[in-house]
């Protein structure tokens, strides 16, 4: 009957947000930005620690227990016992975890069961394929997406606008492996312009092998970045500040760069961070489609072979990447928006 229960709770809504910001302002002394940065960094470290716990527990969750995971499926009971002794698996869990952490500080991720080499080396080689793939497609998609979004927003409702919209819906809805297979079939098999399988040797040769995977990844990323930029820039173009600038006779380049791009920046940066993170899964698929020996393939192979140390290693690397991306996104947003530097809330 009555709303008594949440009356008090509801009260904290409403005008409190600006006050909270004001309070944060005072508590943080002169720079709420520094405070926020400190909080985020502490948070990042906490998240990383949590990830190490989860990753560490992987070994214990795997079917057959850690000794089986480490020794492989065909291990004899004697081998298993030897493994238990060697890895100290009979010690209390927290001791094992501390040992694991200790090894991590020396960048020791263990030894791959499948490849019989340090996990760090496998990961290093794979990253040499994955890193350029990720970074180039991401950058391409962010820049081209913003440009395309702005271009269409300026021609809202035109035929071009509608065609681009339809294409973004198509690209965003098509599973990445389907896009990849289509591109491989057209450019690799029918036209025979580019190689479709493997990563080639080093240097220029590798670049040729990466063209199609990068194209595939970029297309998928481009779909979301274009659509987002189109909507956000369309909103800004209808805002009073744009009309006011045009009423002062300010040039188109002033309006587009100093107002539109700047006001879209915070959301664009936040989105591309989120997109990059979400894309990591898709990357595994892209690498499979083009048989690239990158981190994704390393992971899938390790999963197939129950190569637990490698799975742990890749997961950890991905976690670090995610945390770093989030931190960089926060930093960039702070640099762009003075309201966030003052500790005010901004829609992201």
């Amino acid at each position: 009957m009555s709303t008594t229960g949440n009356e008090a709770a509801r009260d904290t809504a409403g005008p409190a947000t600006s006050d909270r910001a004001a309070a944060a302002h005072r508590r943080g002394g002169r720079s709420p930005a520094l405070r926020m940065l400190a909080t985020r960094s502490v948070g990042a470290v906490a998240v990383l620690l949590a990830v190490t716990v989860v990753v560490f527990l992987f070994v214990h969750l795997a079917p057959g227990g850690p000794e089986q995971a480490l020794a492989g499926r065909e291990a004899t009971p004697e081998q298993l016992a030897a493994i238990r002794a060697r890895y100290g698996l009979d010690d209390p869990l927290w001791q094992q975890y501390l040992r694991y952490l200790g090894a991590l500080t020396h960048l020791d991720l263990g030894t791959s069961l499948l490849r019989r080499e340090p996990v760090t080396r496998s990961i290093g080689q794979a990253a040499g394929v994955t890193a350029p793939l990720v970074l180039i497609s991401w950058l391409l998609a962010a820049v081209a997406g913003t440009a395309l979004g702005m271009f269409t927003a300026l021609r809202a409702g035109s035929r071009l606008d509608r065609v681009v919209l339809a294409l973004t819906v198509l690209a965003a809805s098509t599973p990445v492996f389907a896009t990849g297979l289509l591109l491989a079939w057209v450019f690799g098999i029918q036209l025979d312009w580019l190689p479709v399988l493997g990563a080639g040797r080093d240097g220029g040769d590798r670049a040729r092998y990466l063209v199609l995977p990068i194209l595939t990844t970029t297309l998928v990323l481009l779909a979301s970045s274009t659509r987002f930029a189109r909507v956000r820039i369309g909103q800004i173009l209808e805002e009073d500040q744009v009309t006011f600038a045009r009423a002062r006779g300010l040039s188109t380049s002033y309006v587009l760069v100093r107002i539109v791009l700047r006001n879209a920046a915070v959301q664009t940066i936040t989105l591309s961070g989120a997109v990059l993170i979400a894309m990591l899964g898709g990357l595994v698929v892209v690498e499979q489609v083009f048989a690239l020996p990158g981190l994704g393939t390393l992971l899938v192979t390790a999963i197939g072979a129950r190569d637990i140390p490698v799975i742990q290693g890749v997961t950890l690397v991905v976690a670090v990447a995610v945390v770093v991306v989030n931190l960089v996104v926060d930093l960039l947003c702070l640099a762009v928006d003075p309201r966030m530097r003052r500790g005010l809330e901004v829609d992201r």
Binding site: D161, F177, L181, G281, I308, I311
Partner: protein, 289 residues
């Protein structure tokens, strides 16, 4: 243009793209295609052949009158497998999306209206989940545990929550501060009733688009998992799986790979288009002035 005594901040609405009188042809096509797939789902008996029947003699065939879309490397009829695969291809994403949106809406309404510690807990969990690459985690978890289709769905459901909860919660918070909700509180309408009769209808259009968008994501994610050989059991006539199995022999029968790919993309696109259109319709019905 408003001569209001005091300015009422009105957020500029993003222009909707697919607005227009009548049913646009794109939407009609989407509905038609989804109708066809629905028929496949209800009546797998329409398949001309046994989808699982292996006939090595018929392998690698192109389209013919006996096999409209040809055969795969094991000599199975591609069209029959396509029809048989419609169930997993459509029902699973549908269930996944419905589950994700139902849970998201519930959490969003609770967090956005009750605020306080309920909101704090939900928001923190959502924040953490948000910065985790969903498909990647699904690959690792499903792969390491060897879990099946059910586990994939649960993992994807959980990781589908954060984006939806965020969007819906923000919408709920915006509405919760509006006079019509406050008026209901002042009248003495109970909290659960306010949630059901005021807030849920108010965010209805957003829930609908989120649902259809989520279908798209679910199709993409689930088929990616099966493309990697995770989730669905080997031999199942799943569209993603078919593409993975047949891609090596694409030059022998182009359709064995292209047809399931095309179907996947078409279902996903149709869901997207239809959701967008419904949203526009619903939004306009409640649009002021």
């Amino acid at each position: 243009m408003s001569p209001a005594g005091i300015v009422l901040a009105r957020r500029p609405r993003a222009r909707r793209f697919l607005a227009g009188p009548g049913v646009p042809p794109g939407v009609a096509a989407a509905a038609l295609f989804l109708g066809l797939v629905a028929v496949w789902v209800v009546a797998p008996g329409l398949a001309p052949h046994d989808p699982a029947l292996i006939r090595p003699g018929d392998a690698y065939q192109g389209p013919s009158s006996a096999h409209l879309l040809g055969t795969d490397p094991l000599g199975r009829d591609v069209l029959s497998r396509l029809i048989d695969g419609a169930r997993t291809a459509v029902l699973a994403p549908l269930a996944l999306a419905a589950g994700t949106i139902a849970v998201s809406t519930t959490l969003a309404v609770l967090a956005g209206y009750l605020r306080g510690w309920v909101d704090a807990v939900i928001s923190r969990v959502v924040d953490v989940l948000y910065s985790i690459p969903a498909l990647m985690v699904a690959i690792v978890i499903v792969g390491v545990t060897g879990g099946g289709f059910g586990l994939s769905i649960i993992v994807l459901l959980v990781f589908g929550l954060p984006a939806n909860v965020r969007v819906l919660r923000a919408a709920v918070m915006e509405r919760a501060a509006l006079p019509y909700v406050e008026a209901a509180r002042t009248l003495g309408v109970s909290t659960p009733r306010i949630m059901l009769t005021q807030l849920v209808p108010a965010i209805g259009p957003l829930v609908i688009t989120s649902f259809f968008l989520q279908i798209t994501f679910a199709i993409v994610d689930l088929s990616s998992l099966s493309f990697l050989g995770l989730g669905v059991p080997p031999g199942a006539s799943d569209w993603g799986r078919m593409m993975a199995e047949n891609r090596a022999t694409m030059s022998a029968n182009f359709f064995s790979t292209a047809a399931p790919g095309l179907c996947l993309a078409a279902v996903a696109v149709s869901a997207n288009v239809l959701g967008d259109w419904l949203y526009t319709r619903y939004e306009q019905a409640g649009r002021s002035r």
